[in-house]
Symmetry: C2
Subunit: 215 residues, 2 copies
Amino acid sequence: MASQNGSCSEDPGKRQAILEQAIRTFAELGFRGADVQIIADRAGVGKGTVYRYFKSKGDLFWATTYEVMLRLDRHVFQAMEGVEGACAKLRASAVAYSHFFVDDPRYLALFLQDIAEFRGSGPESHREHREKMIHKMGELLQQGIEAGELRPVDTRQTTLALGSLLFGATALGSHLKLMPVARMTEYAVDIFLRGIRSDVSLEAEPSCLMESRKQ
Amino acid sequence: MASQNGSCSEDPGKRQAILEQAIRTFAELGFRGADVQIIADRAGVGKGTVYRYFKSKGDLFWATTYEVMLRLDRHVFQAMEGVEGACAKLRASAVAYSHFFVDDPRYLALFLQDIAEFRGSGPESHREHREKMIHKMGELLQQGIEAGELRPVDTRQTTLALGSLLFGATALGSHLKLMPVARMTEYAVDIFLRGIRSDVSLEAEPSCLMESRKQ
DNA sequence: TATCACGGACGGACCAGTCCGTCCATTTAA
DNA sequence: TTAAATGGACGGACTGGTCCGTCCGTGATA
């Protein structure tokens, strides 16, 4: 994923410019559809220069998905700062997650490319980072359980289930256009939360789903 | 999606053979990676023959995704036959859904191609069929609500949320290989069900998630 | 002048869709 | 019943175009 460097001196600004245009171009045209020449043109460099900073087209692609992973990570965990309570934190993370992809659909396109084209394979670094994010979410759940706000669920499985829900809602929602993604996500997360909340917590603060019973 | 026919006589068997090999090849190599020549070779016909049965490579691709949609539909709704109760039916459909893609990963690859490459666009027929499936699931939820087994949730939104969960669990699960897909799906659906079950139904038949409280 | 980052022309591989000659099944004529 | 004629389904060579990765000439810098 990293630039292979060798002995040449590299300009981080130029590297970043190429990366940024790669995100844009891969998202628009897909991995195969994206001509490296276009990325070079957009970044204002020659094609040879692209190959100086990145070993191959594939390498460049991995660098872009890694970059987006980092951005998603920052975005989601920043959104949880200052929020109190496990349920509220989870909801905040879900909202941030869906906004991340709705605000910039290129990111979603890139992730889908990754999965569709490369079956989510990719360098070890990607896997490691993913594992780190899963772990962080797991800890958050654990705190919620210890605080009595959540039932004692399996934290890893629950994290993966929540991740699946968010990914599915975002991917399907964005593409099938059956309903606004943000609303869809919030609704789905509410159901999910009601499913993992402790009964005590449920009585204390009924979810919006409960309210619909009045209808 | 349909073969454009014109005035030539067509052999349904040959069409089916081409379609079958197209599923296989698109799944293995992706839309762009799949050479029509390979599909032709595998189906035991000439390349020209492929273009006799399908207007273009894209047309052939739509025909394959439509075919898979039909199979998924049959598979899921067949699994619900003879099952009593809304929750049990939903669980059965979820299990069938995940099995459909786990048993034949080509189907998942095809769907992901569809979303990644074509942004879920595609002929009107696809949209219509999808809408029909959503409607059928919605009716099922409605029956569960009327029977008092489920809380009075919005059936369409809930269907979409469940669909998102299933899709996400299958797609992420299959590719990230973090956990067996079937187990992941069952777990996620249990959480989901607990979130939409009526309290009465919950007391009567505690979900497996409840049991984990004993730990 | 020597060094080196850089750009872009180029080689070669690959592929969608077309088009024409072949071959087979069916029909007509003897 | 056999032989010739006809039409159209079929195969695959071919064309026009695309795109990856390399390599070499150029211009900036020290």
